[in-house]
């Protein structure tokens, strides 16, 4: 119980820290998006931004709340206002949210979470700028138009609650979980056939394993691993990481997602461009 409360408190603290960083992240994302936008994204389609799809007659089982009374009052029939709930122009972003994302190998580098959020927001800004609608998977409905970016940023603070929105997927995370777990996760996102990108964000230390000497590797909630000579296992670790990477690529391709890799010690601009390119409809 106390543990639970403590973890709740630590989550609140983390959320507050994140909230404090968000405005800066939004600004950075807008700057990043502006640097990526010119020449790549000029199309603005007529009628974009409409939420309305069609009116249809009330059928049994429709809740009275779903009846559009204003429209119905103009005629004899009762109409239900149906929303455009499946649209290829909707971009659904999901950033993995677990404690491992808060890792950084060097204190002067951003954490994986910061970099993932930055990429996500920049991507959202780009999409919004292109007139598309953006949703956060499981957290917000699709937003569009001015102000949407701020609402999306605020959406990162929400717990997963809303019905997932359909659309192209942009999954950002470290994908270090066992392949089965990743596969289950992709299935949960309904990834298959939707198209999109899977961006694996890794820290430089995770990729290169620069540790030497006796090191006690630990992660919250798991048994620590006592390595006597870290330099001796670097090669083996890198092989295992490559295997993991291959597994992720395989899973992504099976789900028709474009697999991308981004290291936090690299600049975010090229990564954003690659994501942007990966999201172009495969026609």
């Amino acid at each position: 119980m106390a543990d639970h409360r403590a973890s709740a408190r630590s989550r609140i603290a983390a959320a507050e820290a994140l909230a404090a960083r968000l405005p800066a992240l939004v600004l950075a994302a807008q700057r990043l998006a502006a640097s990526a936008a010119p020449g790549r994204h000029g199309r603005r389609r007529a009628g974009a931004g409409e939420q309305f799809w069609q009116y249809r007659d009330v059928r049994d089982g429709d809740s009275p709340a779903s009846i559009d009374w204003r429209r119905s009052a103009r005629g004899e029939r009762l109409y239900v206002r149906e929303r455009e709930w499946e649209s290829v122009e909707t971009l659904v972003i999901d950033v993995q949210d677990h404690e491992g994302m808060d890792f950084t190998g060097q204190t002067n580098q951003p954490t994986k979470r910061d970099r993932a959020l930055l990429l996500a927001l920049a991507l959202a800004a780009l999409a919004l700028d292109g007139g598309e609608r953006v949703a956060l998977f499981g957290r917000t409905p699709a937003f569009g138009g001015p102000g949407a970016l701020d609402r999306l940023a605020a959406g990162f603070m929400l717990a997963a609650s809303t019905t997932p929105v359909a659309g192209r997927l942009a999954l950002i995370g470290d994908f270090l979980a066992p392949p089965e777990a990743i596969a289950a996760d992709l299935a949960r996102h309904g990834a298959a056939g939707r198209g999109g990108v899977l961006v694996q964000v890794l820290d430089g230390a995770e990729c290169d394993f620069p540790y030497r000497g006796r090191v006690l590797f630990e992660r919250r909630g798991e048994a620590a691993e006592d390595i006597a000579r870290a330099e001796d296992i670097a090669a083996a670790y890198r092989a295992r990481l490559a295997a993991q990477r291959d597994a992720v690529i395989g899973l992504a391709e099976a789900a028709r997602l474009v697999p991308l890799l981004h290291r936090t010690d690299a600049a975010p601009g090229p990564a954003l461009a690659a994501i942007r390119a990966g999201l172009e409809p495969v026609s």
Partner: protein, 893 residues
């Protein structure tokens, strides 16, 4: 025991057996790992299932730790080198310790050696202590019973040096008694190394197995000083003749204990004594009451002075208008020649003479006005001697400053119109201060003043004519003496002044105030020296002695050194001159002799070994932190530098000190003594200003005008002595700019020539010339004498006089028209040596003696110093208040 090395706690060495165990333990214990959060932890699972062995500790770190542990064990075991035993045999040890005056100088070392000896032998054998000098109660030396270690150490702690020689004969008797009482005594003798009567017998009785002797070369004994023909005090010092030259400083001390002068006596190799003269101004020389060797020299290093060896300053005043110094006729001609050799003679008027610090005043036929009368009353009460001669001016109306009532008129003895014949001086009264002088055979008195026989107190008659008429009256008043000689000081009324023993009379008379030596009867000890050379009350063993025995008495518990005397006066009995001549003792051959500080001591190595072990373990701590990555190399180096104390702050850019806080400055003279006095004096004034006023001054600074900037200081003190050279052009320019810029230049000399005003006269004959030389190039404004009405006299304290070390010399400031726009004088010139009065030493005691040291002189000097500072800081701000009475009066109308 390994060779010469033994251990204080050998059991601890068993801990070394644990070292191999420690070796395996250390090898088995891996260094603590560094903790690293790592998200891809899953990928590390079972990555090396076979390699679980921890990293071995580096062999050198292992060695370091083992070495540290071994050193800790060895250090606590306390390795030491213990010298071989000092004394063979067993049975109690009879430790005879010389504690006479010759042992006092190194008594601490003597007791330390005795303690050391007791520590070595007392455990098994017991100690019998014997101090060879009798104690102040008159008890002869006596051996103690057999003491244990604690008892012996207690007895040693209570032992002290005595101010008389050891009594070897009585000590030999005590040894014999002890040997009879306690069998098997081994003798050890802590000798002072000086030859002494009875030493051979004592050594034969003691039969010492070992002698521990202080070097007799260290013994110093002050001898009775002499007065040179010109009155300077000549200190004499005796030593045991030795191969090297001896140089020994000697201090001349006042009764307060303040050192008035310091000289160095040099004794040539092989010589037994040496001498050196004190060149002191007369006024200071008369204040010297003892000579002393600096440091803990014991009673042999103290020479008390009595009247015979104190210089006296005599003032001579004559009445009338005739030249008193006229050959053969002048009223002072014979008296001046009758004064004891070495005395200092001053002439002048009564007031200034008394103020200049004389000890005796001779008035040859001087009628007194009331002011002089009260001055003389105070002078006598304060210890002065006034000797009045009669004469035609005072005879018609005798005043009341006489020992007894005098009749007016002159008694004529012989001559054309008188009956009778000139009378001879018949006798000096027994019991009077003149007792013992031989009555002059040929001297006759033809005229005299008469004491009133109706009221005559016989006790005031010190000498009579052959017909019984009093001719010398005298009385003690307060601490001083008033004497009337009822005839003239020249040959007008009597031929006494040309008698051969007239100087003896005058010499006896002028010394009455400084403590005349009693000439007859028994002497009692008044104040006696103790074993460390300070004066105290006599012990129970002190016995009176006859004056006749004084010269050849030897100091002893019955006759301790000190001041002896009776109501008539006192005389100093010193060790020097009253003990046998110094010579090194002949110690028996065949007995091992050790120096006081040459006793072999145990050398202990535990503490340094433990320190090394601690350093090793600290290094180990640093290295482990480094290996774990908790400490970076750079941080480790900084830490190491901090630990080794090699870190030193870098000096900041210097800011001129005067810019940060107001502070006083003095001109550096190059003479370290004067500069120290200036700095100390200004520092004392700054402290007083900080304490009494709202101003806050920093520590004073020494400056060199023209080289260092001086414009920042509010007050610049410039001490000028006869040796001060003329300042160069740059310095003059800087000083002029300083005065023009609102600074206050205080020029001061340390006294002046013999014709200068004030009590500093004669202290620095070249000062006046130096003052002219130094100020020649300066733009000094026209000057007037400072008065008590001037602003400077009441800027803070209300000062009526402006004394420094001296008093009475005028102080000059700029005349009214020549001051700056605010009416402030840019310069103050005096010759009272203000800094000399202000200066205090580290313990807050004044450094220099004052003249004439009137009550409050030092306070007034400090007040004037504060006034100077406030004058420099606030200008004429206070002068507004001068007008307050006038303003109030006008407001009232």
């Amino acid at each position: 025991m390994i060779g010469p090395i033994s251990f204080a706690a050998p059991a601890i060495l068993a801990g070394l057996a644990l070292l191999p165990a420690l070796y395996f333990l250390l090898r088995a214990t891996p260094p603590a790992p560094r903790r690293q959060e790592f998200p891809p932890l899953r990928l590390l699972r079972d990555i090396m299932p076979t390699e679980r062995t921890p990293v071995r500790m580096p062999w050198w770190l292992l060695l370091l730790r083992l070495l540290g542990a071994a050193l800790v064990i060895i250090g606590f075991a306390g390795p030491q080198i213990v010298p071989p035993r000092l004394l063979a045999g067993d049975g109690p040890v009879l430790l005879a310790i010389d504690n006479g005056w010759a042992a006092a100088a190194d008594f601490t070392a003597r007791i330390a050696a005795a303690r050391h000896l007791v520590d070595q032998v007392a455990g098994q054998r017991g100690i019998v202590l014997l101090a060879t000098a009798g104690n102040a109660a008159g008890r002869p030396p006596r051996a103690s019973g057999v003491l244990g270690r604690i008892g012996a150490l207690d007895a040693l702690g209570a032992l002290h040096a005595e101010p008389w020689p050891a009594d070897r004969a009585a000590a030999a008797a005590a040894v014999t008694v002890a040997r009879r009482r306690i069998a098997g005594l081994t003798g050890v003798y802590l000798a002072d190394g000086l030859a002494a009567p009875g030493l051979r017998r004592f050594l034969a009785a003691l039969d010492p197995a070992r002698i521990i002797a202080g070097s007799p070369d260290r013994i110093r004994l002050l001898q009775s000083p002499k007065l040179s023909a010109d009155g300077a005090l000549i200190a004499r010092l005796a030593v045991v003749p030795q191969q090297n030259e001896v140089t020994q400083p000697v201090l001349a001390e006042a009764s307060s204990g303040a050192a008035l002068a310091r000289i160095v006596v040099r004794i040539a190799p092989g010589a037994a004594s040496g001498a050196a003269r004190f060149d002191l101004p007369a006024a200071l020389a008369s204040q010297v009451t003892s000579l002393a060797l600096p440091g803990a020299a014991g009673p042999g290093g103290v020479m008390l002075l009595d009247g015979a060896t104190r210089q006296i300053v005599v003032g001579l005043v004559s009445g009338g208008t005739a030249n008193p110094e006229q050959k053969l006729l002048g009223s002072l001609y014979y008296v001046r020649r009758a004064l004891p050799p070495g005395s200092v003679v001053r002439t002048g008027r009564i007031g200034p003479l008394v103020a200049s610090g004389i000890s005796a005043l001779i008035l040859a036929d001087v009628p007194l006005n009331p002011a002089d009368r009260s001055t003389l009353d105070r002078f006598i009460a304060g210890g002065g001697v006034v000797i009045r001669f009669a004469g035609p001016l005072t005879a018609p109306q005798p005043d009341t400053l006489t020992p007894d009532h005098l009749l007016d008129g002159v008694r004529m003895l012989g001559g054309a119109l008188a009956s009778g014949k000139p009378e001879r001086i018949a006798a000096f009264e027994r019991g009077g201060p003149l007792a013992g002088l031989t009555p002059p055979r040929a001297a006759t008195v033809s005229r005299q003043i008469l004491a009133d026989p109706a009221t005559l107190d016989p006790a005031t008659v010190w000498a009579r004519l052959s017909d019984g008429t009093p001719i010398v009256l005298g009385v003690r008043r307060g601490r001083g003496v008033l004497v009337s000689v009822l005839t003239t000081a020249n040959t007008a009324w009597s031929n006494w002044p040309i008698a051969a023993d007239f100087p003896a009379l005058i010499g006896r008379l002028v010394r009455l105030g400084t403590g005349a030596a009693p000439k007859s009867g028994l002497l009692r000890p008044l104040r006696v020296l103790n074993g460390i050379g300070t004066l105290g009350v006599p012990g129970a063993g002190a016995r009176p002695m006859a004056v006749a025995d004084f010269a050849h008495t030897t100091v002893s518990p019955a006759h301790p050194p000190g001041l002896w005397g009776d109501a008539q006066g006192s005389i100093a009995l010193n060790i020097g001159g009253h003990v046998p001549p110094l010579a090194a003792a002949a110690l028996p051959a065949g007995v091992p002799v050790t120096g006081l500080d040459a006793l072999p001591r145990a050398r202990r190595f535990g503490p340094p070994i433990l320190a090394i072990a601690l350093a090793l373990l600290l290094a180990d701590l640093l290295i482990s932190l480094l290996l774990r990555g908790a400490l970076r190399w750079r941080a480790a180096l900084v830490l190491l530098a901090l630990l080794s104390g090699g870190h030193r702050a870098r000096a900041a850019t210097p800011v001129p000190a005067g810019a940060l806080a107001p502070m006083l400055a003095y001109v550096r003279t190059g003479d370290p003594t004067i500069d120290r006095i200036s700095r100390s004096g200004l520092g004392a004034i700054a402290d007083l200003v900080n304490q009494e006023t709202a101003a806050h001054l920093g520590a004073p600074r020494g400056v060199t005008p023209g080289v260092s900037p001086i414009n920042l200081y509010p007050l610049l003190y410039w001490p000028i002595t006869g040796a001060t050279p003329a300042p160069d052009a740059k310095a003059c320019h800087a000083l002029d700019a300083f005065m023009a810029g609102g600074g206050l230049l205080v020029i001061d000399t340390d006294g002046g020539g013999s014709d200068a005003a004030g009590s500093g006269a004669g202290f620095d004959p070249g000062a006046d010339a130096a003052l002219h030389r130094a100020t020649a190039c300066l733009a000094i404004p026209p000057l007037v004498a400072l008065t008590a009405r001037d602003t400077l006299a009441h800027t803070f304290f209300l000062a009526r006089s402006f004394p420094g070390r001296f008093d009475g010399a005028p102080v000059f400031i700029a005349a009214k028209g020549a001051r700056d726009a605010d009416g402030v004088s840019p310069v103050v010139i005096g010759s009272n040596d203000w800094a000399g009065a202000w200066a205090v030493d580290a313990s807050g005691m004044p450094v220099r003696a004052l003249l004439p040291d009137t009550p409050g002189q030092r306070e007034h000097a400090a007040w004037f110093g504060v006034n100077l500072v406030m004058y420099a800081l606030t200008g004429t701000y206070k002068s507004d208040q001068v007008q307050i009475p006038a303003i109030l009066r006008r407001l009232g109308q």
